[in-house]
Each structure stands twice: as C-alpha cells, then as structure tokens.
C-alpha cells in the first residue's frame, strides 16, 4: 500500500481499541519473569558454552603479541578467539567501530579476545590468563583541545546538512538590539539500560541463529552478515524482549559478533553477556558536545538572527552529533546559520542515543532562550510563542504538517501555574530551600518509513500479526495488537502480536521515534489486504462492509470473522510505503516542559519537585504506553540535567566511571510526580492512523527546563551539564 495523499476516513477512526489506554499485552509475562530475554533462553539449546570478553587494556596502539596458551589450558576452556584466529571481519553499515581489536587497538575496552568455556565461571577465570602485550601510541581524547581545529563535518546519512545558511546571519546578528552569544557543553552519556548487551549464537551448518537484544532486526542481520562475510539470508536474529535500549542496541555490536565467532570456533552454541564495567568503553554512547549559540532579537522579542555551531568527536569515520537539528526548525527568524564540526577522538564510538542531536542540542538552545527572555525582560513562555512559525523557517513555502506548539506552551503554563513564577531569580524560599520554576520547548522530528506486516486469520477469529518490530519496553506489542484489532473489528484479546524475529516482514524497528507510526501503518496495510481477502472469501462485494464485534456485516447479513478461515487460515502480507508528503510538509512533534526544583541553600543539593510535559504528537495510539514513554523521557532528562556524565580521563584515554556505581542515573527518590498532557491532534500527512512517535520527544528540552528552574531558584547560571552543586556552590549566599 502506498500512502501519498493525506489520510481520509478509515476504520481506525472508530477508536474502539486504538486510542484506548490498554495495558501492555505482554505485561504479565514481564512482571512475572516469564518473558525470556536474550541470555535467558535456557532450554534452547540445552548445552550452551559461555563466552567472556577480554577488553583492550590500552586506548590506542597495537597488540604486539597475544599468548592464549595458559587460557586454553585452563579447565573447561573450549576456544580462545582473537584477531589472530578470528578470520577477516568487515564493517557493518551503521557503526564505524571494529568489534575485535588487532593488531590495532582503536579504543579502550575494544574486544581483544573472547574466551569460550563450559561454564561462565570458567570462561571468566580463564579470561585473565590471556596475556596480551601492547604497544601504546598517542591518541586524542580531549574534545576541548580540538575546539579551534576540528573541521566542519561531511554530511552523512543521518543528521542532515552540517552547514546551513539563510539570509545574512552575521549582519543581522551584529545589528540586533538584544544579543546572546554563549557556549554550552554537554558530556558523554551512556544509555545505561538495565539489560546488558547479550547474545546466544547457534550455527547449524552455515546458518546462524542468534537470540539477542537489538532494536533494528533487519539492520542487525545486514550488519552481522556483512561483518562475518556471509549471506544475509543465512542469519536469523530473535529479540522478542529487550530490557531497554535507548538507541544503544541499534544493530550488531560486539556481543553479537563475538558470540557468533565464539560459537563457530567452539562448534557449540555460545552465550555471551557483556560485563557491565566493559560496556561504557566498549559500546556506543552519546558523544559530548561544545555548542555555541547566538541569538539576536528586536526589542519586541522577535528573533531576527539565530546561529548554532556545534562540535563533537568520534572515532575516525564516525558520525556527528547533529545538535543543530532542532534549531533549524523550532523558531522563526529570517537570518539563520548552523554548523556542525567533528573532531577525531580515540574514545569509544559516539552514536545514536534517544533523540540523537536533538536531546543535547535542546539542552543548549533552551537555556539560551531562557537567557534571551531574561535579557528581553520577557516571560520565557511568551518569547517562545512570539517566535512560533507555522512554516519551515528555512523553507517558508513548506508548512508544518501540524504544529500545536503554542497550545502546548499555553496549556502547560496554565496547568503548571506558571504565572506564579517569580521572574527575579533567587527570590522564592521554602524554609531552607530556594525554589524555582523553569520551562523549555520540546521538538523532535517525526519520521516514518516503509514497514511491513504479515497477518493471519484462523477459524476461531484470531488474528496473528508478525513483524520484525521490537518492543524495547515501549509498548510496541500493544499498539500493534490494538491496530489489528481495530482494523479487523475484534477485541484485543483476539489478536496475537509476534515481534522481534528477523524472518518476519521488515520494519524500521525501534529508533528515531519512528517505530510506532511506521509499524502501525504497516499493520494497517496488511489488515486492509486481509479485509479484502475475507470479503472475497465470504462473498461480500459491497462497499459498506463493516468489521465489528468479531463479525463481518453488510446490510442485514452478519458472518463471524473466523468463518472466512473455515477452510484454512488466510495469510496475507503487505507493507506501507510513502510518497512525497514528508518533502511537502515539515513533520515534527512538539511539546513544552515545565519543572519546579528546590535547591538546598546550605548544600546546593538539587531536588526536582514536580514536572509537567505537554505533547502534541498526532493521534495518541495508547495514552497509557504513550504516557510511560514521556515520563521515561522526563526521567532521563532529570539524569541529563543533574548527574549523568561519563568522565573522560584525557591522559589515559577512557571513560573512568564505567559502571553503574560511578555513572549515576536517577533513582526513584530523584523523580517526583510527573504529569503528562497530550494535545488532541491528528496529522493526516503521516499515515492512515495519523500518528507520530513520541518516545524521544519526551526527552528533548527536559534538562534545560530543569537547568532553567535551577537558575530561577538560585540566580546562578550553569552552562555545563550536568548541573552539579560544585558548579554553583561558591555563588550561593553565605550560610554561616
């Protein structure tokens, strides 16, 4: 099915199942521990061997020699794999890193060897017997040091152009009545998902099956096959449940590649989970940024010049952190400039993490807007409303498909009690606490891509849906089931959703917040085809056919849906693909975040007191799972604002705090009551469901809202994330 004209009325509009706050269909399995994650497929097969990874001990250099004799001789050891015996490995298409070091070492904790043994304990113990001699060489680990020298990045497949210019930015900025020119920094961040990267690999002849934890199944098969130099058809990946990903499990990484190599060498199924302290320097992360923002406005607050320059680093060949994306679309202003530069760093690869580019970009831009509002002596909400635009500010002939940004701002301000905010910072006290309010905008692109599904109807009226979509905790199972139920006129318990198998029809998977809109559109297309097949089978040929309550009806004839499959299951497959609506319309999701924080006047400790997000993201397919996505984003934003930072040791070239004791993420006590309001919105340019994703929208802007609230509470502006007490303590009033 092709979607190339805006949506017209269709069966989804009945909203009997779609749009309802259904519980997660797999919730019971998860809460009772019955859902099996990658490392937990204990019965298939019965005799796995276990792998344990040895990470490179140096950040940059060469493996001079590697002696595996002692490890091989250790009890239970079946195989030891290193670059000397692994055979040639190619690169996948998405990541730039190599998953096995040797002879070159590209970054700290890159896999140097894998030990496979009968038991996990034997593998772990033998891992320390692998003797590796390294030859260290100099590397670059300091982003700041390349601030002046790093070149403008080449445009890659993601993140858009690295330089944009509209009008005369320099001239307009110079001539502006009110100006801001500040630099903001965001640190390297880890995905820090609960479930570590884990794989169980099984070879049968030249066919490879892996139970793994990965967000994009067909990218995974593509990249794993390419890395190993085998046909894609020979690889099957299975990821029914994923214990969090946040972009950190996009496609094949070291666990998959090494488990496959280990299983091949051991001629046994191999299970491998990356040990937590290795994950931070071995896997991808969100790279640190240094961002300069310049905004020029008239005295009335109208922005006339907006510029955003950004620097991040990566391994050679790696991608940029496209922080300027949001700045290009969020506010009006005739004169614009963005520029993204890229330094080469010999740290682990920087790559996608929830709202890549947009999350750190908004951390900077939305503090800048707060500062601008203060300079203009204007309310920050009002400043944003004043600079709203209904057309792409870079291409005024291209309207937004839907943009209820102002409504988000106004609703949020009203519900949050924004008018009670004292605009003068440091003035509100509650006992020993300074109290402040802050807000920020939210924006995240609304991509949608080709997505397929297979649906099967049986004689009991049960509809089974199969797609290679994944559920990383987001609720994909549930919205897939809801969509099929709505289309086929059955209740949700008559739908079986099967996900996470690379042999199922392709979807874009979980990433870029395009999963929900794309996969439901694919299910729509397949169900539309199934409806036709059912109608034909049952001999209906009228156009007024209704699928409802488990029946197919026309006029006064009603037949149970399952009757169509009396003589055998009906199986159809289709996909949804798209025309040029995304070119004609700027498709984005919008929101506004409000935060109230308290700062201890003695110690500077920061505690968020309450937060509200208002989101406009097309049709909300399931308000319960959607709310979970947004409060999850808000929680992550609290982490980004207050604590998350992978600390780089620029001498020794690695992220120092590489475990969950050192890399702090919010705990329950950091997260107060969070409220979410969804603005009623349909976006007919997206798909027949008129829905957009929102898993990443909920994160953008959050950290800035918190940082702005801290400023409002204390009067101290911190432009380096995370905002920790050591950065403003000296500026707090004396307490002794």
């Amino acid at each position: 099915m092709k979607f190339d004209t805006p949506a017209t009325p269709n069966p989804i509009d009945r909203l009997r199942v779609v749009g309802k706050p259904h519980d997660r269909v797999e919730g019971r399995l998860k809460t009772t521990g019955a859902a099996t994650y990658a490392y937990e497929h204990h019965s298939v097969p019965s005799d796995p061997a276990y792998g344990y990874v040895v990470g490179a001990a140096i950040p940059k250099g060469r493996i001079k020699s590697i002696d595996i004799a002692r490890a091989k001789a250790a009890q239970g050891v079946i195989a030891v794999i290193s670059h000397e015996n692994a055979g040639p490995l190619a690169k996948g298409e998405f990541y730039t890193q190599r998953f096995l070091a040797g002879p070159e070492v590209d970054h700290y904790h890159q896999v140097a060897a894998l030990v496979v043994a009968e038991t996990f304990e034997q593998a772990r113990s033998a891992a320390s017997l692998v003797r590796i001699d390294y030859l260290k060489s100099d590397g670059s680990f300091d982003l700041e040091a390349q601030k002046r020298t790093a070149p403008v990045a080449k445009q890659g497949p993601y993140g858009g152009p690295t330089e944009t210019a509209v009008g005369d930015f320099a001239g307009a900025f110079a001539a502006s009545a009110v100006k801001l020119d500040e630099t903001y920094t965001t640190p390297d961040q880890a995905h820090a998902m609960m479930e570590p990267h884990a794989t169980m690999a099984i070879w049968e002849g030249d066919k490879l099956t892996c139970w793994t934890s990965i967000q994009q199944m067909n990218w995974g098969t593509r990249d794993l096959a390419k890395t190993l130099g085998i046909p894609k058809e020979n690889v099957r990946l299975i990821s029914p449940y994923i214990g969090g990903g946040f972009g950190g499990k996009g496609t094949a990484q070291s666990d998959l590649v090494m488990a496959a190599l280990g299983a091949r060498a051991a001629r046994r199924p191999v299970k491998l989970a990356l040990q937590r302290p290795l994950m931070f320097n071995n896997l991808i992360h969100r790279p640190a940024t240094i961002q300069r923002i310049q905004i020029g406005a008239n005295l009335d607050g109208k922005i006339i010049a907006i510029g955003h320059e950004s620097l991040s680093g990566n391994l050679r060949g790696g991608r940029t952190e496209p922080t300027t994306l949001s700045t290009r679309a969020l506010y009006a202003g005739a004169n614009r400039m963005t520029r993204v530069r890229l330094a080469v760093l010999d740290l682990a690869e920087g790559n996608a993490m929830r709202a890549p580019g947009e999350a750190p970009g908004m951390m900077a831009l939305e503090i800048a807007m707060d500062e601008m509002a203060e300079k203009l002596e204007m309310d920050p909400v009002r400043l944003r409303i004043l600079n709203d635009t209904q057309v792409d500010p870079e291409k005024p002939e291209r309207p937004f498909s839907s943009r209820r940004f102002v409504e988000c701002l106004e609703t949020g301000a009203g519900q949050f009690g924004w008018s009670n905010r004292n605009a003068t910072p440091g003035k509100v006290r509650d006992g020993r606490w300074f109290v402040g309010m802050g807000m920020a905008a939210a924006i995240r692109g609304a991509p949608i891509s080709k997505s397929g599904a297979r649906v099967r109807l049986d004689s009991g009226g049960v509809v089974t849906v199969e797609t290679d979509m994944t559920d990383i905790g987001t609720g994909s199972y549930t919205i897939v089931a809801q969509t099929a139920a709505e289309m086929m006129g059955v209740s949700i318990d008559k739908v079986v959703a099967k996900l996470g198998d690379s042999t199922f029809p392709e979807t874009p998977g979980s990433g870029g917040q395009q999963g929900a809109p794309s996969v439901t559109a694919g299910v729509y297309a397949a169900c539309a085809k199934l409806r036709e097949a059912v109608a034909q089978k049952l001999g209906f040929n009228s156009v007024d056919l209704v699928f409802a309550d488990g029946e197919v009806r026309s006029g006064n004839r009603a037949v149970p849906l399952g009757a169509a499959a009396q003589s055998g299951d009906i199986i159809v497959e289709d996909f949804m693909e798209y025309g040029d609506l995304a070119k004609r319309f700027a498709q984005q999701t919008f929101g506004a975040h409000f935060a109230e924080v308290a700062v201890d006047s003695f110690t500077g400790e920061i505690r968020v007191r309450r937060m509200l997000a208002v989101c406009a993201a097309g049709r909300i397919l399931n308000p319960k799972t959607a709310r979970s996505q947004v409060i999850g984003g808000m929680t992550m934003g609290i982490g980004a604002a207050l604590m998350e930072e992978m600390v780089v040791d620029t001498r020794f070239g690695f992220f120092v705090n590489h475990d969950l004791a050192g890399y702090e993420v919010p705990v329950h006590a950091d997260v107060p009551h969070l409220d979410v309001i969804f603005i009623d919105e349909l976006d007919p340019t997206m798909s027949p469901l008129q829905a957009k994703g929102l898993g990443e929208l909920g994160l953008t802007g959050v950290a800035a809202a918190v940082a702005n609230a801290i400023y409002n509470a204390t009067g101290v502006r911190v432009r380096e994330y995370p905002v920790t007490l050591d950065k403003f303590l000296a500026a707090l009033p004396d307490v002794t």
Binding site: R432, T603, E605, M643, D649, E664, A669, L725, D726
Partner: protein, 317 residues
C-alpha cells in the same frame, strides 16, 4: 574471578586461626563488597572463610549501659533496632543513608567497617593504583578526583572511606572488638581503627593477619540531637560527596564527624570547641590541613555549609 576454596566455620577462634594459617585467606560475611572485588580480580583470595555461621548476630546491652553490636548484625537490623533508634539515632540515620535496601539486608557490621575505600581507578585493574598495586602510581590525583579525599590523604593515595556507618560510629566513639588466632581479644577505638594511607595505601586498618571482628561496642547514650546529613548528586543510592554525623547538645556543644573527605571518618575533637562559635571556625579547624585537588576543592566549603545545615537543623529540634 580466580578460583578459591571455601569453608564454613562455627567458632570465632577457629576462624581467626584458619585465616592466619591459610595463605591468601579472607573472611566473607555479606559478600556485598568482597564478591564485587573478586569478580574484578582486585581481590584474589585463594580461600574464603564464611563467618555467617558465627553467632554474632545479636545487639546486647553492655554493663556500662552501652550497646554491643555483633559483627554479623545486618545493617538493616541495626538501623531498625529500637535502642539504636532511640539512643543512637545518628547511627540509624547513617545506615539508612547508605547503599540500598537490598544491600543493607546483606551487609554486616564488620563487613561495612572493612569495605574497601572507593576510587574508580582502584576498580579498573588496567590503571595505575598504589592501593591495588603498590608502587604503580596513583591515577586519581591528577585525574578524576571529584569524589575523592581532601584531607588525611597522601602523595600516594587520596581515596575516601565510603562507609556511612563508620562516620556515625566515629561520632559516637565506638570500639571495635577483635579476636586473634590465639583466641586473644582486644578492643580498638574507632579513632585508631583506620590507617591513613601514607606510603602504604594498601594497608587500610589496624587489623593484623587473621584478626576477626567479633563486635562493635557503643558507649552509654550521649543524649542530644542526632543527625546525619549526606550530600550527594542524586537523592539516594550514591556515596557521599560530604556527609556529616553529629550529636548536638542544647548548649551548643557537640560531636561532629565528617565522611566523604578522607581515608577515614574525619573527626578532630579539639575542633569541636569551635562548634559553639559556628560552623565556619569549626570547619576551618577541622580541615586546616586540607590538600584538595582542583576537582574536589568544592568539598572544603561544602563541609562548612553541611555542618551549618546540621547545626541549623539541631537548633530547630
């Protein structure tokens, strides 16, 4: 993790004797610290002596009206004990500020006292660290030192003792009861229990080989207001940037020990004379010899401000 042998013991003296006689032996109690270190091969004991079978799980009154806490009393049980909550509130509060509910259920009194000092480089066997690998250098001093010590530190090591419980025990002047291989018992005041790193940061306490902790005793109740304030970046489940254990009396005198700043709970009794004057002179005296790094220099004013917070709170009660 290296392989090791394992045994359970039923008498304290047997435990101490076995520990002294067996090369590379270590006691294991809750295992919450030791097992982590073993997995990373920072500790590589060849033999583990499980002391959980010893009957050291009681909290009893002592003759002088204090409390005797068995070495195996779990942190959860200790924090919840009515006598501790009533008479030694600072200890209860400190315990509850530490780790997480699950860890406290496992963690023992002795194990908590003997958890290794905290430093991220210590936890990474590829990095230089004088404590883990004497003579290899200290990666932290010129590196990531934000969390680390500002006083009592040396050129060799600036790691901090992470225990919250010990800070409260220092404020209370607890004593550590020990038995050795010959069955001899002795008591070490908590003030003397921890060693400063000097040139030997691998030596952290006054215990000698094989010595087993049997109990910790608390003096008779001190009265006063008991407070424990732990400052950290996140609200729970994090080690202290700075913590303050205080027992404050109505007349403005008191005892104050500080955590998160030194290789041991930091208390200078003489400085406490300044408490009646205020947090500033007290802290100035307490940290007179501070040698912070650039990254952790904020801890010096933070101590002053946290002490001020505690004094402020004590006045409100």
């Amino acid at each position: 993790m290296r392989s090791f042998t394992f045994e359970r013991v039923t008498s304290a003296q047997e435990a101490a004797a076995k520990a002294q006689a067996t090369p590379g032996a270590k006691f294991i109690a809750g295992g919450t610290n030791l097992l982590d270190l073993m997995k990373l091969e920072i500790e590589t004991p060849q033999h583990l002596i499980d002391v959980n079978g010893l009957k050291f799980d009681k909290i009893e009154k002592t003759e002088d009206g204090g409390l005797r806490i068995g070495a195996l009393v779990r942190n959860t049980a200790l924090a919840a004990d009515m006598r501790v909550r009533r008479d030694y509130g600072v200890l209860s509060r400190a315990l509850l500020a530490g780790a997480s509910g699950q860890l406290r259920n496992k963690a023992t009194t002795a194990g908590n006292l003997l958890q290794r000092t905290r430093c991220p480089y210590f936890y990474d066997t590829n990095q230089p660290c004088n404590k883990r690998n004497p003579g290899s250098g200290c990666a932290a001093i010129a590196g990531y030192s934000r969390q680390l010590g500002v006083i009592g530190v040396s050129e060799a090591c600036i790691a901090t003792n992470p225990s919250d419980m010990a800070v409260a025990m220092r404020a209370l002047d607890a004593e550590v009861e020990i038995i050795d291989a010959s069955g001899r018992t002795r008591k070490i005041p908590i003030a003397d229990f921890y060693r400063l790193p000097g040139d030997t940061p691998d030596v952290e306490t006054a215990l000698s080989s094989g010595e087993l902790i049997t109990a910790v005793t608390l003096p008779p109740p001190l009265g006063g207001t008991h407070l424990y304030k732990k400052v950290r970046d996140r609200a729970s489940y994090a080690f202290a940037l700075v913590s303050v254990a205080a027992v404050m009396q109505r007349d403005g005198t008191g005892r104050v020990a500080v955590g998160g700043v030194a290789p041991k709970p930091w208390r200078i009794e003489k400085a406490e004379a300044e408490l009646r004057v205020g947090a500033k002179p007290f802290s100035a005296r307490l940290l007179a010899d501070a040698k912070p790094t650039k990254e952790n220099a904020f801890k010096v004013p933070l101590v002053e401000r946290t002490v001020a917070a505690v004094m402020h709170e004590a006045r409100q009660k």
